[in-house]
Amino acid sequence: MTATTPSTPAAPAASGATPRTSPRKPVRLRSRAPHSVARPRRSVLMTVLAGIVLVYALVPLFWLVVNASKTQSSLFSSFGLWFSGDFALFDNIARTLTYDDGIFGRWFANTVLYVVLGAGGATFLAVLGGYALAKFDFPGKRGVFATVIGAVAVPGTALAVPTFLMFSQMGLTNTPWAVIIPSLISPFGLYLMWVFAAESIPTELLEAARVDGSSEGRTFFQVSLPLLAPGIVTVLLFTMVATWNNYFLPLIMLKDPDWYPLTLGLNAWNAQAATAGGEAIFDLVITGSLLTILPLVAAFLLLQRYWQSGLAAGSVKE
C-alpha cells in the first residue's frame, strides 16, 4: 500500500471523466484488498448483508399482497406469508371499489385532489421561498429559516385544536381547504430548494439578466426555473408522499366521510369492526391498503430518473 506501486494507466485513464476511476493497483492480498476504489470487486457478502435489509423492507409489503388475495375467513386461519384458500384478489378489489356505493373511489379522488393542490402548492411555495433564501439577501432572512424549523419542532397536537377552532371560524372545516392549506408548508421542501437553488443557479446569470433589464419575476421564470427542474421534481415527489399519507390533521378537520382521504377512510373501515352492529371488513382494509400505496409506488418508479438526480445535485456539500 505504498505510493510506489506501479500503475497501469491504460484503459482506465480514459475514463477520467467518470467518477471514481484511478489506475489499478496490483492486488497483493488477493482475497482481502479491493481491486481499487474505482472498479471494486462485487462482494457477495455485502450483497447478502444489504439483502437482509432488503428483505426487512419488503416482507410487510409482500404480506400485504399475499393477504389481499385471501377471503376474510382464510385471512384468519392461514399462514400469513403465503397464499391460501381461494385466490380472491380480483374479487376483493371489486368489493373494495364497490363497497358502500363506491366510497373508496370517492376517497381516491379526494386524495388526488388534496395531493395535486396540496403538493403542487407546497412545491410552488417552497421553490419561491428556497430561491429567495438562496439568491437574495433580505432583512429578516436569518430569522426565516430559524422560525420555520422552530415551528416544525412544535408537536402537531399543539396546533390541532387551535387550527381547528380558527378554521371553523373561517368556515373551512369539513371542506377540502382544511386539508389543503396546512399541507402547503413543507419545511424540508424549503430546505431542499434552498440548497438546490444555491447550487445550480449561478449568480452571474441572474446579474446578467438584471443588467439586460429583466424584472425579477421574468428572470425567475425564464432563467432560474428551468435550472431548478430536477430539484422541483424531487420536492414535488416528497410533498406528494406527505400529502398522500396525511392523517392526523384531516382526522380532526373532516367529519364527513365524503371528504375523507384514503388514510382516513381505511382507518374508518378498520374501526367499523369495533362497533356494535358494524361489519368487520378486514379483507377490504387490507386490499384497500394495497390499492392505496400502488399509485405512489408507481410514481416513484416512473420518475426515479428525475428525483435521483435532483436529490444528488441538491445535497449539501461542505
Binding site: L165, Q169, K255, Q272, A273, A274, T275, A276, F282
Partner: protein
C-alpha cells in the same frame, strides 16, 4: 435585529387580535343559538312544513329508517353522516359545539356518555316536545339513562341487556355445563382450559363498559351523582364482589389476552378458542356478519348470576338519539327522533337486526318468537327480552364518564399485564377520576 423585532411584534399583535376574537367567539358556549323549547304542536307543524336535518350516527340500521322517514314526510330531507363511532363521535360533537359551527341536528350518544352532554347543556331537553309522555314506552334501564334531573335528554334507540353468548359446540365437545353463576363460570373456565389449553372461556384485556356493567349487575353503585356533587366508590360491595371473582380468573390465566373487536378476536370467536361472550343484546348482528364460521354453533343463555337463583342483569352499551342544543331545527329533529325510536322506525330497525329499547317491540309475540338461524333455531329474543326486564335499577354514570373510561386501561388495565390486583387498579381508577372531577369543578367524595 430591529427589523426582526418589529416583524415579530407585528406578528404577535396580529395573532393577538385573532386570539382575542376566537376567545370571544368560542366562550359563548353551545347554548346561544338553540331554538327555544317548543311543544308537540311545533313538532307536527315542522314535519308538515319540512326542512333539512343532519344526523350524526354510526348505527347502520338508521339508513332504512331515513329512507322510510323521507317517504312518509316528503318535505323533509335527512342527511345521515357517520362522523365516527363512540369517542370519535363525541370528540367531533364537542369540537363542533366549541366552534359553534357544523353542529348536527341529531346525534347518536351512548348511554354512558349522555350525562356528560346533558350536564353541560350541550343537548336539548326534550320534555316539552312530548318526550315526557313516553313514560313506559321504553325499558327501565335506557329510560332512566336518558333522564338527568328533571329533564329528558334523548330518546333510547337500542339497548344492550346482557346475556351469555356461548359456543355450544365447544361445551359439548368437552362435556362441560354452561354456567349459571359466576362461581360456576370460574369452574367452567378451569375445566375448559384444562381440557384444551388453547381454549379460553372468554377474552378480556380490560374493558370499562364490561367492568362497570358487571358491577352494575352485582348491585354496586360506585358512581352517585347529585347535580355537581359526585361520589365515587369503587370499593363498595358490588365492586369488591366483581374484583374478587375476576381476580381469580386473572391469576389463573383463564382469560384470553385478546382485545375485543380486533381481528384476532373475530378469529377466536370463529374457531372456538373463545368460548363465551358476556355482552349486550346487540351482539347477534355482529356475530352474523363478522363470524360466519360460527353459524349454527352459538347459543344464548341468561347472564351468570352473582347469587344462586337470582335474576339480575345489567345494560352493556346501547345508545340514544339526542338533539344538540345548538341545533336550529329542534322541533323537526324531535320529529325524526320520535319516528325512529318510538314510531315506525323501531320495527324497521329491528328488521335490520337492531335490539330495540321499546317495551312494545320487546314483548311482542313476533319478536319473541323469532328463531335465529345463526343460533341454531333458538328463540334468542326470549332470553334477551327477559334480561332487559331484569336490569338492576339505580345505576348511574359519572358526568365525565367518557374521560373516566378513557383512562380505564391506564389504571385498571394494568392489572391485566402486571402484578397489580384488580382491587388496586380500581382504586387507582377511582383516584384518577376523582382528581379529574375536582379539577373540573365538581365536588367529589370518595
Amino acid at each position: 435585529m430591529s427589523i426582526r423585532t418589529t416583524r415579530a411584534l407585528r406578528a404577535v399583535a396580529a395573532t393577538g387580535v385573532v386570539a382575542l376574537a376566537l376567545a370571544a367567539c368560542s366562550s359563548g358556549g353551545g347554548n346561544d343559538s338553540g331554538g327555544d323549547a317548543g311543544s308537540a304542536d311545533d313538532v307536527a307543524a315542522a314535519l308538515e312544513e319540512g326542512g333539512s336535518l343532519t344526523v350524526w350516527a354510526w348505527e347502520p340500521t338508521l339508513e332504512q329508517v331515513v329512507t322510510d322517514f323521507e317517504a312518509k314526510y316528503p318535505n323533509v330531507d335527512v342527511e345521515l353522516v357517520n362522523a365516527g363511532t363512540g369517542n370519535d363521535q363525541y370528540t367531533a360533537l364537542q369540537n363542533a359545539i366549541a366552534a359553534g359551527k357544523g353542529v348536527p341536528d341529531v346525534a347518536q350518544v351512548e348511554y354512558y356518555a349522555l350525562p356528560q352532554f346533558a350536564l353541560s347543556d350541550a343537548v336539548a331537553d326534550l320534555s316539552s316536545f312530548g318526550a315526557d309522555e313516553l313514560d313506559g314506552t321504553f325499558t327501565p334501564g335506557p329510560w332512566s339513562a336518558v333522564q338527568q334531573g328533571e329533564g329528558i335528554f334523548g330518546l333510547p334507540m337500542d339497548s344492550g341487556p346482557m346475556a351469555l353468548f356461548y359456543n355450544e359446540e365447544v361445551f359439548t365437545q368437552h362435556g362441560i355445563e354452561v354456567p349459571t353463576t359466576w362461581d360456576g363460570f370460574v369452574e367452567a373456565a378451569r375445566a375448559l382450559h384444562a381440557a384444551d389449553p388453547s381454549v379460553y372461556i372468554t377474552n378480556d384485556t380490560g374493558d370499562a363498559g364490561f367492568t362497570t356493567s358487571l358491577i352494575w349487575q352485582a348491585g354496586g353503585q360506585p358512581f352517585q351523582v347529585d347535580g355537581t356533587d359526585v361520589t365515587i366508590d369503587l370499593a363498595d360491595e358490588g365492586s369488591t364482589q366483581f374484583a374478587e371473582t375476576w381476580q381469580t380468573l386473572l391469576d389463573e390465566d383463564l382469560l384470553a389476552p385478546v382485545s375485543s373487536w380486533s381481528d384476532e378476536w373475530y378469529q377466536g370467536l370463529g374457531n372456538g378458542t373463545i368460548a363465551t361472550l358476556a355482552i349486550g343484546a346487540w351482539m347477534p348482528a355482529n356475530l352474523e356478519s363478522g363470524v360466519p364460521d360460527g353459524a349454527g354453533k352459538w347459543r344464548v343463555a341468561p347472564l351468570p348470576q352473582w347469587e344462586e337463583g337470582a335474576s339480575a342483569s345489567a345494560e352493556n352499551g346501547g345508545s340514544a338519539l339526542s338533539v344538540p342544543a345548538a341545533s336550529t331545527n329542534q322541533a323537526l329533529a324531535y320529529g325524526f327522533l320520535e319516528y325512529a325510536n318510538a314510531g315506525d322506525g323501531v320495527q324497521a330497525r329491528v328488521d335490520g337486526g337492531a335490539f330495540p329499547a321499546t317495551t312494545a317491540e320487546l314483548e311482542s309475540d313476533e319478536f319473541q318468537g323469532y328463531e335465529s338461524e345463526y343460533f341454531g333455531g333458538q328463540k334468542i329474543n326470549e332470553v334477551l327480552a327477559q334480561s332487559a326486564a331484569d336490569v338492576v335499577e339505580g345505576w348511574s354514570y359519572l358526568p365525565f364518564q367518557v374521560y373516566a373510561n378513557s383512562i380505564f386501561n391506564d389504571t385498571v388495565g394494568q392489572a391485566y399485564v402486571s402484578g397489580t390486583t384488580l382491587a388496586d387498579g380500581l382504586k387507582a381508577w377511582q383516584d384518577a377520576s376523582a382528581k379529574y372531577g375536582t379539577e373540573q369543578g365538581f365536588t367529589v367524595n370518595e
